[in-house]
């Protein structure tokens, strides 16, 4: 869900929140560690924050422009989808 916090037409930050449920906390953490190391390709204008709470991976974006936000979210969803497919095909995680 994207919230635009601009009332008088001036530049305000756009935000996007995503919560992704996983079968276990371990798998949510695996996803987090697979998806967080790479920096955003575009250095300015966007920031992304990943966190795990229980079995849920939550992601929070802050962007200056809708276009930049859209590209980042779209790219993240592609990679998230790939992580989940990898877990389906090569999981479940081995016991530690």
């Amino acid at each position: 869900m994207a919230t635009c916090m601009s009332e008088n037409g001036s530049e305000r930050k756009l935000e996007f929140f995503l919560k992704v449920p996983f079968p276990s906390e371990r798998e949510a953490t695996i996803a987090l560690q697979s998806l967080s190391p790479d920096p955003e390709p575009r250095k300015g204008g966007i920031s992304k924050n990943l966190d795990v709470s229980g079995q849920t991976l939550s992601v929070r974006w802050t962007a200056d422009e809708a276009r930049i936000l859209r590209v980042s979210v779209s790219s993240f969803l592609d990679h998230l989808s790939l992580v989940m497919e990898t877990m389906d095909a090569f999981g479940p995680p081995v016991s530690q």
């Binding site: 697979s34 190391p37 090569f90 995680p93």
Partner: protein, 335 residues
């Protein structure tokens, strides 16, 4: 016994390979091929890799007859290369490393080529010519680093060939370079092109603009055929590469040349390098297309060397990078 699985996808090839103590157990690969006249863009290339990587991974395990528990280390290309494809591959490597509880290893793509070349050919201490669509470097090992003795100051030689292929709409299947090579064999007329060796280095962007222009002018007036242009381009580019390789050999007192990278498949380049080597009493080493062209096993092999000498990449440090110099890595596995 050490078994390493390697993931490679920095350009348009996606490969997963498994090596066990110097033996290649499997090395499947897929290539993203674009229509004639078009190059491959990062987003579409990454999309291609995403769509096939898990299939290729399963193939690698099946062909090797191994299960994930048999793997000791997961290696992947940290860089250099194209951003989006690198991320796609890294994400899968990180995920399986965690699922299987195995250590992760980020590998330098150029070093992957070198280590595979050394393994296959058994060259002892060669002057390495690394030539591909993305890189052109002359490298020699010295005191724990692969030192760059000469390189392109602008585009890679393979990039020059690939972009020329687009101008005359040569097919990209199996690769533009291969098709230029076949056409060059039928060329008869040599067209003079700029020859731009700069000391130890080379430059290709001037030759590219020159030949793109020449192609339009000369082909429309039938002054020459596309085959003549292919022939002339290869002769010029490869002579330049032979020159800078010879210069590095003279500096190092080296008696061996190893050619790695996709352009290294080219038989004419190997032939010309062979002539120079014979004149110097040196030996030339090259590998076949399974190993010249980007593949997973080369990453596994470099990973094998690195892992056994104690390297490991923490997940937090496993970010990919489009720029990664060959001499940035400390080569702890050689004296």
């Amino acid at each position: 016994m050490t078994v390493v699985i390697g993931f490679e996808g920095s350009a348009n090839k996606i490969g997963v390979g498994i090596i066990r103590d110097g033996e290649v157990l499997s090395n499947p690969r897929r290539t993203y091929i674009t229509p004639p006249g078009q190059g491959f863009l990062p987003g579409e290339t990454a999309k291609h890799h995403r769509s096939v990587i898990l299939t290729v991974l399963q193939e690698a395990l099946d062909e090797a007859g191994l299960k994930s528990a048999d793997i000791d280390c997961v290696a992947y290309t940290k860089g250099p290369g194209m951003g989006a494809p690198l991320v796609t591959v890294a994400v899968v490597a990180r995920t399986v490393a965690q699922l299987w509880g195995k250590p992760l290893l980020g590998v330098n793509h150029c070093i992957g080529h070198i280590e595979m070349g050394r393994l296959i050919t058994n060259a002892q201490n060669p002057t390495v010519l690394y030539v591909s669509g993305g890189n052109t470097q002359v490298i020699a090992y010295s005191e724990r680093r692969y030192r760059i003795f000469g390189e392109t100051i602008d585009i890679a030689v393979g990039n020059c060939l690939d972009r020329f292929a687009r101008v005359i709409k040569i097919s990209n299947d199996p690769s533009p370079g291969y098709n230029i090579e076949q056409m060059a064999k039928k060329g008869t007329k040599f067209i003079e092109l700029p020859y731009t060796v700069k000391g130890m280095d080379v430059s290709f962007s001037g030759i590219l603009s020159y030949i793109e222009d020449a192609a339009h002018k000369m082909l429309s007036t039938s002054q020459c055929t596309p085959e003549d242009l292919c022939f002339s381009l290869q002769e010029t580019l490869f002579a330049m590469l032979v020159e800078i390789t010879e210069r590095a050999m003279a500096h190092c007192g080296s008696q061996e040349v190893l050619i790695v990278g996709g352009v290294g498949c080219n038989m004419r380049l190997q032939e010309m390098m062979g002539v120079m080597c014979k004149e110097r009493g040196a030996r030339i080493f090259a590998t076949d297309e399974s190993f010249c062209i980007d593949n997973g096993a080369m990453i596994a092999q470099a990973g094998w060397e690195m892992f056994r000498s104690g390297h490991v990449t923490e997940l937090l440090d496993s970010w990919i990078t489009q720029r990664y110099r060959t001499d940035e890595v400390e080569v702890t596995w050689r004296d």
